[in-house]
């Protein structure tokens, strides 16, 4: 199972956006932990006196609240930009793959070539995909809600009964990755794994034609 390989566009989009949030998290934690530590050390009780001080700093707090709002708007702006790309659905072309999720297995079919992959309890199904190709997924569930998750692609989408879900993914590195059902779907939810094998286009054509 390939770890640490940048495979999908969704993955790099995720990485870029996450780094913004990651830095913010680290900076805020450093400030708050630092201030609390400072307060506990500097202002620990040394005598029986009651300190005298201001009960409020309204102007400072208002400016601070505006600063927080600016941070929130900045984060949301980054998020919206990334989401537009991640949620984008190509207008045409690419490979089509149909996903059928059911308790507790996956069925992947390729309408262009007629290939069908069905997992068994002993052998999780392997979704074979060509590298550098836009893949249009069409997913549906046969019973309860499932969720199609490829951790290495940093992406998941729920699969509902009676309603089809469409999304596009593309993988820019070859390799084998794990996929899982992320939405709790009953007794054997734990076992609902699959594999994703991204191969060169020629290999994919050979596999699809076999």
């Amino acid at each position: 199972v390939g770890r640490g390989l940048a495979i999908a566009d969704t993955r790099s989009q995720f990485g870029d956006l996450f780094s913004v949030y990651e830095w913010l998290t680290i900076v805020v934690m450093a400030i708050v932990f630092g201030l609390v530590l400072f307060a506990v050390v500097r202002y620990r009780r040394r005598d029986d006196e009651y300190p005298r001080g201001q009960d409020k700093r309204t102007v400072l707090e208002s400016v601070y609240a505006l600063l927080l709002a600016a941070v929130a708007i900045t984060l949301v702006t980054f998020t919206f930009r990334t989401e537009d790309k991640v949620d984008a659905v190509a207008s045409s072309g690419g490979l089509r793959v149909n996903i059928v999720a059911f308790q507790w297995q996956w069925r992947f079919s390729y309408p262009d070539s007629g290939k069908v992959v069905l997992g068994t309890t002993e052998h999780p199904p392997t979704l074979v995909l060509p590298v550098d190709t836009t893949v249009r997924f069409d997913g549906v569930s046969r019973d309860v809600i499932h969720s199609f998750w490829i951790p290495a692609a940093r992406f998941k989408r729920d699969e509902f009964p009676k309603r089809h879900t469409q999304f596009d993914l593309s993988f820019d590195r070859t390799g084998t990755y794990i996929g899982r059902c992320a939405e709790f779907c009953g007794l054997h939810h734990t076992d609902m794994d699959f594999f994703v094998r991204v191969v060169p286009r020629d290999d994919f054509e050979r596999w699809a034609g076999s």
Partner: protein
């Protein structure tokens, strides 16, 4: 001493049927704490199963029952009732009232909660076992075909009863604040904790009916007609559920940040800093929190992600204001690191981790990866355990002397805190990594890849550390009741009216009241300002 003797002579009828708000508060807190121990033991079994890859301790079926009942128990029977128990006990005392409004209604609410709990847990005695569709009970997994058996129905009725009980208590507390305030106690002189209860009750009254609706419709769906069978049904259920399910996490957050605010002020020997900003931020927080529910549904691809991302992210503004006020109270103070203060500081530090990861999951492209994984499990346990429960224990160590007339042992309290602080981080921090690396939530087993066996083992060790901390607390309670140290009226130099009366307070709460000229009347007296 005479008061302490009187409390020991409480009869069974009085214990079961008293409408004294103090008895109701203690009763709700006591059985909620019992449900906490039970639901906590479920968590220990789950962590034991997850300590190593493979199934060693239980079947998948049992595991599914345990996490369902752990989550349902903690939300329906532990955290929301504990929050309201604090309010029922303390709000009348803090505003100088002699009793709670509608005491008989409160008594009904009080007993509906354990009745609901017993109903829910009775599922374990049925043929198909207890409910096992998760505490969210999403349709169609929770319908009659996919969740046969009475366990699911008992879960529905248990949830309905407990939710109705909490709603009744909230109505009583809110009415008390509006109607029963002492002379001089204006709305903008309510203590910080009482304000936090006001917004809590507003949220309960506004959002809990959605759960009543969702659960009732689920019962109809199971036995009469398929309410959620249409193509849009499953999403509709999720909207109904999360319209309750998100506000409820603020219901179990506000009272504890209010309690932490009181503790921080008293043990810093300062009036709470930025009181008006806090009140405003609580109201803004409550209003916004009614408009964020579908951030639990980003991965469905069936909601307006950008709207819910915006409202959810904006929550960092009122939350940041509250942090400003808490830290502002400490800076310039005279800080005593008592057990209560340690838990309050633990709340401030650890809730921050829950809050900041909350900002992360409020971003749909990031949530696509971490939603429904252990990352989210880590996130919300930092808010509800390392946040709310730390706040609850800050409240316990702070108000225990008022409620019982006796002091808890400080040494054991600090040991309790140390075990909880280490245990919480050891349990919940590795969950961020587990989820990130590919571990979904609600799984009894995992493949031994990406170091998942290491992160899971750490989480398990942490969970048992928390369990030891809980035992230390119970030991503290035992020791302190066997060899009592009397507390007196006001052992901490409190700032609010509950410290004016005896410990425990008499049936009618107050023999006299001081003048109320601010949100901290006893502080005013101490500083010669009244």
């Amino acid at each position: 001493v005479s008061v302490a003797t009187a409390t020991r002579r409480v009869g069974v009828i009085d214990w079961v049927g008293s409408t004294d708000h103090k008895r109701i508060g203690v009763r709700v807190a006591t059985y909620a704490f019992g449900f906490f121990l039970l639901s906590g033991v479920f968590a220990l079994f789950m962590r034991a199963e997850l300590a190593r890859p493979g199934l060693q301790v239980m079947s998948e079926d049992t595991y599914n029952e345990l996490f369902t009942m752990h989550g349902s128990g903690m939300f329906f029977l532990v955290l929301a009732p504990l929050a309201l128990a604090l309010g029922v006990y303390l709000v009348p005392l803090q505003i100088g009232a002699t009793d709670l409004a509608f005491p008989r209604l409160a008594l009904i609410g009080d007993w509906l909660i354990p009745l609901g709990g017993a109903t829910m847990f009775a599922g374990f005695a049925t043929d198909h076992g207890a409910a096992k569709a998760g505490w969210t009970a999403f349709a169609p997994l929770s319908d009659i075909d996919h969740s046969p058996g009475y366990g699911m129905d008992l879960w529905i009725f248990g949830g309905l009863l407990a939710t109705a009980g909490v709603m009744l208590l909230a109505i009583c507390v809110l009415t008390t604040v509006i109607r029963f305030r002492a002379p001089g106690m204006t709305m903008l002189r309510l203590p910080v904790f009482t304000w936090s209860m006001v917004v809590t009750c507003l949220l309960v009254i506004a959002s809990f009916p959605a759960l009543i609706a969702a659960l009732s419709l689920l019962f109809v769906d199971r036995h009469f007609s398929g309410v959620f069978e249409s193509p849009g049904g499953p999403v509709a259920y999720q909207h109904l559920f999360w319209f309750y399910g998100h506000p409820v996490v603020y219901v179990i957050f506000f009272p504890f940040i209010g309690a932490v605010g009181e503790v921080v002020a008293v043990f810093s020997r300062r009036r709470f800093f930025g009181y008006h900003a806090l009140v405003l931020s609580l109201l803004v927080f409550a209003a916004l929190s009614m408009s964020v529910w579908a951030h639990h549904m980003f991965a469905t691809g069936r909601v307006t992600n950008q709207y819910f991302s915006l409202t959810s992210t904006i929550l960092l503004v009122p939350a940041g204001v509250e942090y400003f006020d808490l830290i502002g109270t400490m800076i310039g103070g005279s800080i005593l690191l008592s057990s209560a203060m340690l838990f309050a500081i633990g709340f401030v530090l650890l809730f921050l981790i829950g809050g900041l990861t909350g900002v992360i999951v409020a971003s749909p492209p990031l949530d696509y990866h971490v939603h429904d994984t252990f990352f989210v499990v880590g996130h919300f346990h930092y808010t509800v355990f390392a946040g709310s429960l730390f706040g609850f224990f800050a409240a316990v160590y702070y108000w225990w002397p008022k409620v019982t007339g006796r002091l808890l042992r400080e040494g054991l309290g600090k040991l309790h805190f140390a075990l909880y602080f280490v245990g919480a981080n050891l349990t919940f921090f590795p969950m961020f990594i587990s989820g990130w690396e590919g571990m979904p939530r609600r799984v009894a087993d995992y493949r031994d890849i990406h170091n998942l066996s290491l992160t899971n083992l750490l989480s398990t060790i942490g969970a048992f550390t928390i369990a030891v901390g809980t035992l230390v607390f119970l030991w503290n309670v035992w020791v302190s009741s066997r060899r009592p140290v009397l507390a007196g009226n006001d052992p901490w130099e409190g700032q609010t009216l509950e410290w004016w009366t005896t410990s425990p307070p008499p049936r009618h709460n107050f023999d006299s009241l001081p003048k109320v000229k601010s949100y901290s009347p006893l502080y005013d007296r101490r500083m010669g300002e009244a």
